[in-house]
């Protein structure tokens, strides 16, 4: 097998970014999704029906006949400025509804995957 193409040495440089994790009740999933869609993040992950223990005791995962009471977890990775915009939108929400968010430092290899498009100005509030 002959191949005369020369490969560039692959670089595994890590780029620092911020990660946000958000856990809210199912009824607020729509709100958080719109906030993320609008924030400039390039994408996010949703886990539905997560279980765990919190301020209000142990929370079970999936209920058969109630999709609103379950917990939903989001996570997204972006530049600090974008993450700050999400934090600004969630802080007032958590004054009224239960939920948590965590922001941490993280690193990614393929930086271009995480730089969202420029935020369009003047859209829907």
């Amino acid at each position: 097998m002959s191949d005369d193409t020369t490969y560039e040495p692959t670089e595994h440089t890590l780029h620092p970014l911020k990660k946000i994790e958000i856990i809210v009740r199912g009824e607020k999933e729509e709100f958080v999704r719109e906030l993320l869609d609008d924030s400039g993040v390039s994408g996010y992950t949703i886990h539905r029906d997560v279980a765990g223990r919190g301020e209000h005791g142990f929370h079970e995962g999936r209920l058969l006949f109630n999709d609103r009471a379950g917990l939903v977890m989001f996570f997204a990775v972006a530049e600090e400025e974008v993450i700050q915009g999400i934090v600004d939108g969630l802080t007032p929400l958590f004054e009224k509804s239960s939920g948590v968010m965590f922001v941490s430092d993280t690193q990614v290899v393929r930086l271009d995957k995480f730089l969202g498009e420029e935020d369009e100005a003047g859209g829907a509030a």
């Binding site: 607020k28 729509e30 709100f31 719109e34 906030l35 609008d38 924030s39 209000h56 005791g57 142990f58 929370h59 079970e60 209920l63 058969l64 006949f65 109630n66 999709d67 609103r68 009471a69 915009g85 999400i86 600004d88 939108g89 969630l90 802080t91 007032p92 929400l93 004054e95 009224k96 509804s97 003047g122 859209g123 829907a124 509030a125």
Partner: protein, 803 residues
Amino acid sequence: MPIKRSVLRARIENAGEVIGSLWPLRTFNAANPLAGFEDQPFDQAVDRARKLFGGRPYPRPATFRQAWENGEINPALLTRRLEAHGITDPPAALLERMAADDPPGDTSPADEPLDRLMTKWLAAFLDQGQADWPMPNREEGFYAAWRSVAPYDHDGPPVDSPSDLPPTLLDAFENVLTAYPEGQWESIFVQHLAALPGWVGFIKWRAQQDDHPWQAAYPISLADYLAVRLTLAKRMGRAIAPDDAEELPANGTTRPRLPALWLRAWEESYRRRLLDDLSAAADASGADEDDERPAAQMVFCIDVRSEVLRRHLEATGPYQTFGYAGFFGVPMQHERYDGVRVKSCPPIVNPRHRIAERPAPDRETQAATYDGWRRWGEAGRSLVKTLKHNVAAAFGFVEGSGGLFGAALAARTLLPSALFRATEAADARVPGPDHFCAPTVDRVPEADAEGPLPVGLSPEAKVTYAEAAFRLMGWTDTFAPVVVFTGHGCQTPNNPYKASLDCGACAGNPGGPNARVLAAICNDPDVREALRERGIDIPDDTTFVAGQHNTTTDEVTLFADPDEVEGASDTIRRLQADLETAQAETAAERVEHFRADRPDAPVDEVQRRAADWAETRPEWGLAGNAAFIVAPRRLTRDLNLNGRCFLHAYDWRSDAEGTALENIMTGPMVVGEWINTQYYFSTVDNAAYGSGSKVTQNVEGKVGVVQGNGGDLMSGLPLQSLRTDDVHVQHRPLRLLTLIQAPVGRVDAILERQNTLAQLLDNEWMALAVMDPEQDNTILRYRPGGEWTPDAAESAAPASAAG
């Protein structure tokens, strides 16, 4: 400082919590109008809601008088409650005093010019196909569309051109809000949202629908509403911020009010009687286990209306009945034969499958006949509509056809019973889709692309839904030769509130389609095999059949031809005959609650009501609902519960982990609380929380009703669904009591895990009692805060805030 969009959005989301979602008429759903207040104690919440919406917090004095004179309030209980608060006057004097203190009538809406402008534009924008000339530019969203037409509105403040108005939503908010600190925004928004809770509730509902065609085409959000309203308010010089922004003290008012005490005494009187009856029944039924195989078993919806029919059916022969949520646990969207898709599961459940009605393989001829008649009918209707709406043709059309329409009108008005029989006969000649269609229970992957949901059920999903049904009902052995899943729906012409009488667990649709799906699943040999491996052994000679209970006439239709069900033909024929007997008995019991034209012929009476287009009370729906019982039917079978109880089958012995109970409590019980609070608030203040008299209602934009020719959308139930006349109520506005037969520790563990349930109980939106079979069926009552006390200790307990 520029406003951050994300912050603004969160403030609007928070403010929007005070308004309950309002479903469109066709899928009218019962919901607590004060759902956003459930994190507060009941007494405090109704008080705040009174300030915000002007709604009464408690029943009117005349309602208490009615209950008192009927003996529905136990004098000893009432006196004890009053004395505990230092009130020693005799009840009659207190009734007088309450009446004297009481403002007459329900809340009447204020005529505010800003509201008038808003409702005009909201009705135009949110129209869903009723208007012949729709509002222009709707595709740009409500704010942008309004901005483009505002210069032409001579009722509003003068606007020369759209460029006088802020160009975007965000600009509109900035234009108004920069004068106020962020901390005040929410109270500003709340005030403006609460001014029109009907339209705002509908916007809130619509904005949350992912795949709503009208929302996709013409988007609207609470932000749009607020931007228009605040812009108008500023230009008209109306108040932006509420005068009185201060909060109520956290503990609510200081002194319990008389109506709060009377309500609790009334509730306690009902609950006491019910719990005493149940205790007695538990003692009596203790040893008698019924192992004998019944001839047939029927599963009905938990709906309070099922109880009456079940009781009369059981009296006719060797039948067993069960209660289960009327969507039969199948979270589906139903596509009818005419292509219309409707959600067919409870408001708190998202549909996961689309089930379509397709002609069954051997019924294609029937389908073709039906299609032929349908095409003729449609062509006729379309012609009539064109003629009526065409300016040139309208006069000639009326002249030429007036006689025919007059005759039809006269027949509907004067001969409703004959009309009922004529319709039945026509249905028999050209059988409808129920007779020739079968649901797509198996997966049809090639149809998936036509919508967002997968069509049909995977083999795993089928087993899950079948197993869930039997586990939740605690039914793992003794299957009769015929098992019927019975959905329910009403029959009422000319009634915008038809959906409120259909199945609440099916999003205000009839439950028959869901029943058919579960029956088909349970007849599937692969499903039976999988169930057998899981310990649910259904004998080979058991056939599952679907049916539908017409709650207006109490007729039960079985979707099965007895001749075609092998080995069970005779059983089905006998069941059909017994169902007719049960119908007659049920109708006889129900007509006592009507001012009947024909009390001597109950079945004729209920059939007349089902066909009469002028009948404002076709049936009483769920009026009277007051309790939710989670227990085997054994416990309640010998009691007459007067159609006031939701009944969910449950057997504590087959649910050691409490999984089934947890699903019952978080699902059906919560829906029961929604229904009960809707009935409560619609009854205590029909103008603020109900929808007023049917006589003066008009349908607006195909989405809701208004009173007269405009104004806010009405929410809740009509007056005629709740009251017999201006003074007397049919629905007793009592909060729901749930009684669960299970070990108290199991229930407690569930409340520990499900904080929202504990919150409903701690804040007294509903009450809970447990009959503990491990403590000799002792009844324990849950007290706000989480303590359990024996039933008899009621008077000793200092109890609730106002009680």
